[in-house]
């Protein structure tokens, strides 16, 4: 079993499914010989040839539109948006078509595509290379929106996404692509979608997060532990459809919840988690819900970007506020 990074786990999952299922194809800009600008598709073109690992023309509308067409005709395309900031020209085909083919045709045509989106800030990249824009998709029926936060979850969730009979937007926290290695067996075992993962048990406060922010949130839990505060950490993993039960169970226990995400606060997906708590956990909460998020501004260019992203310090402070409150 190899020690691999998150991005290597993604490559391994794609290679596994391409070998297993001839209908799986990869398409995008620079995914072929170059192996992707992040090297996520490295080696796939050599293994599976340029027809199944397709360098498209430089047009995201094309990538999304032909992925939809291929998926509706029995293929399983894995399309890549080169960066989060370039996903917008794909939105029309994803929302109007990928998400709707099944319902539009009463199940006659379906759209089992995966859209891989390297996501988020903190890598000192140019403008539009650092967006946390998962909210674009979370209000859209018919989509799954997922985001792994470790090598093993990346492998298992990408397998699940490829095998899913419906379209999946697969956000990849690029800041932690190579954060650490983990043993991941190439055993073809998918992880379940539509469920949260409890990464750390705790009894005083529930920290809910996803993506790259899982790193800071776990570090915050460590820091809190040092002060005798026991934090439960939940990786939402599948944002849509949301597994609220797991979050609710935790809050029943802790009575406190801090939601952490990188996207701007207002109408970020954290709002949905907080809203569910306001609807269903009112009598469980002993303190107001806290959100630690990106600000309602654009993520700055890189000289200031770390001031924008939620820090361990901000998470710890929010957790302590919930403890002080109730």
């Amino acid at each position: 079993m190899a020690q691999i990074t998150l991005i290597e786990a993604l490559t391994m999952a794609m290679a596994h499914e391409m070998a297993r299922d001839p209908s799986v194809v990869v398409l995008g800009e620079d995914v072929g010989v170059n192996g992707g600008v992040f090297r996520a598709t490295a080696g796939l073109s050599e293994k599976f040839g340029p027809v199944r690992v397709l360098d498209t023309p430089l047009d995201e509308t094309t990538i999304a539109g032909i992925a939809v067409g291929m998926a509706a005709q029995g293929m399983k395309p894995i399309a890549e948006a080169q960066f989060d900031g370039f996903v917008y020209p794909m939105v029309d085909h994803i929302i109007c078509h990928a998400a709707r083919f099944r319902t539009r045709t009463r199940g006659r045509l379906t759209c089992p595509l995966v859209l891989r989106v390297p996501w988020g800030g903190g890598i000192r990249a140019p403008e539009h290379h650092s967006e946390a824009n998962e909210s674009i998709f979370t209000n859209v029926p018919g989509l799954r929106v997922v985001m792994p936060s470790s090598p093993s979850r990346a492998y298992g969730m990408l397998l699940a996404a490829i095998r899913d009979p419906d379209p999946v937007i697969f956000f990849e926290p690029k800041r932690i692509y190579r954060q650490y290695k983990e043993e991941v067996a190439d055993d073809g075992e998918a992880l379940p979608l539509d469920v949260c993962f409890v990464l750390r048990d705790g009894s005083d406060v529930t920290l809910v997060t996803w993506g790259a922010q899982v790193k800071e949130t776990l570090e915050a839990a460590d820091a809190l532990a040092k002060e005798g505060i026991s934090a439960e950490v939940i990786d939402v993993a599948t944002l849509k459809p949301l597994d609220f039960d797991t979050i609710h169970e935790s809050v029943k226990k802790t009575g406190r919840c801090v939601i952490v995400h990188e996207a701007p606060r207002t109408a970020g997906f954290g709002a949905e988690v907080a809203a569910r708590l306001a609807e269903h956990a009112m009598y469980d909460l002993v303190a107001p819900v806290e959100r630690v998020t990106g600000y309602d501004t654009h993520i700055p260019l890189f000289r200031l970007e770390m001031k924008y992203l939620p820090s361990v310090e901000r998470i710890v402070a929010a957790a302590k506020r919930t403890l002080a409150a109730g």
Partner: protein, 357 residues
């Protein structure tokens, strides 16, 4: 100065507006009057259906409906030139093509009657559904063509877009992809001169719409879209080329929208009457009928009998549509995902509970 590249756009017409042959190289299918009669009968059926659908809308029995009046030759030529296992990606008024391919008139009515089941075609199960977001279907067809190429299937994807739709980004993206990948994809622009109220002259500075294919390195052809013989010839050529691996093609079918844009539109607000009157002189049924009459392959008696038969069939379809019960309310949940996610189960139960009250 040296010349890096040069191009010509040809214009194809066999029958003039009066139904007279203007060329003497009739293709094989057109030398067989029986085939032409069959195609004429389909065109004529479409027209009967279309006027009935408009009437249904006027009497409140159908929602907004997009008429195909005047487009019958182009549409029937497209449908009849395709193999059944080719894939068709329509916009929203290509009933002629779809009927040939096996879509039922009652399905057209269900769709415009506000019932998703209209898109569950009893005809070609792999054809794309009607596509409201203009020109997006072009990329779906290109994607289908890409799938055929990957799977090495000798199939062709055909999309239809309007003159207005040929301004849209997706149209260019699709032909560009077809050119870059030599895809079996035929992009037909049905140029009916108007995009709702916007005339073709406001859409583009291009002299022909066919020449847009040059941008993608595709072969391009402008065709008299009211001339069934020319349209069918062009489609046969394009589809054969594509099937044999020679890549995509752009065909501009020059025709005219004789109706309002849809039943929700009033074209008198923006379109001169004279223009419409002149367009009726060039309409597609008349010229093919004249030609067949001259060939003695058709007669007034045939015409009358066939019209009656069309009315009879259309009535059956209309009745079937009118008798279709509304879907159960939970249908809105049952096709969102392959399996209903846990997160939606409570909402579905709520809807059912509300319904039962």
């Amino acid at each position: 100065m040296s010349i890096a590249a040069s191009f010509e756009i040809e214009y194809l017409q066999y029958l003039d507006p009066e139904g007279k042959l203007v060329r003497n190289d009739l293709p094989e299918f057109a030398r067989d009057p029986k085939q032409l009669v069959e195609l004429y009968k389909t065109m004529s059926f479409v027209r009967v259906f279309d006027s009935k659908a408009v009437a249904l809308q006027r009497t409140g029995k159908l929602g907004t409906y997009a008429s195909c009046l005047g487009h019958e030759a182009a549409h029937v030529a497209i449908g009849s030139a395709m193999h059944i296992d080719d894939v068709f990606a329509p916009m929203y008024r290509e009933y002629g093509a779809q009927f040939v391919r096996g879509v039922k008139p009652r399905e057209v009515l269900m769709y415009w009657g506000g019932d998703e089941r209209g898109n569950d075609f009893s005809g070609p199960a792999h054809d794309f559904p009607w596509c409201v977001p203009i020109a997006t279907q072009c990329l779906h067809a290109a994607g289908a063509a890409m799938a055929f190429k990957i799977r090495k299937e000798p199939r062709v994807a055909v999309s239809v877009v309007g003159d207005g739709g040929s301004s849209k980004a997706d149209f260019y993206s699709a032909i560009n992809m077809a050119g870059a990948q030599t895809l079996p994809y035929v992009s037909v622009i049905v140029n009916n001169q108007w995009a709702i109220s916007v005339p073709r002259s406001a859409q583009t500075g291009a002299k022909t719409l066919a020449q847009k294919g040059i941008a993608a390195g595709l072969e391009c052809l402008q065709v008299d879209g009211n001339d069934l013989i020319a349209m069918r010839t062009a489609m046969d050529y394009a589809i054969k080329r594509a099937r044999h691996g020679h890549g995509g093609m752009v065909i501009e079918a020059v025709t005219y929208r004789l109706s309002d844009h849809t039943t929700a539109d009033d074209a008198r607000r923006y379109r001169p009457d004279g223009e419409v009157k002149a367009a009726w002189e060039r309409e597609p049924l008349k010229r093919l009928r004249n030609y067949l009459l001259a060939q003695k392959a058709w007669s007034d008696k045939h015409e009358e009998a066939w019209k009656a038969e069309c009315e009879r069939i259309v009535d059956i379809e209309v009745n079937a549509y009118l008798e279709t019960k509304v879907q159960p309310v939970e249908a809105m949940f049952d096709f969102v995902y392959a399996e209903l996610p846990v997160d939606l189960q409570e909402q579905r139960a709520q809807v059912l509970a509300l319904e039962k009250r």
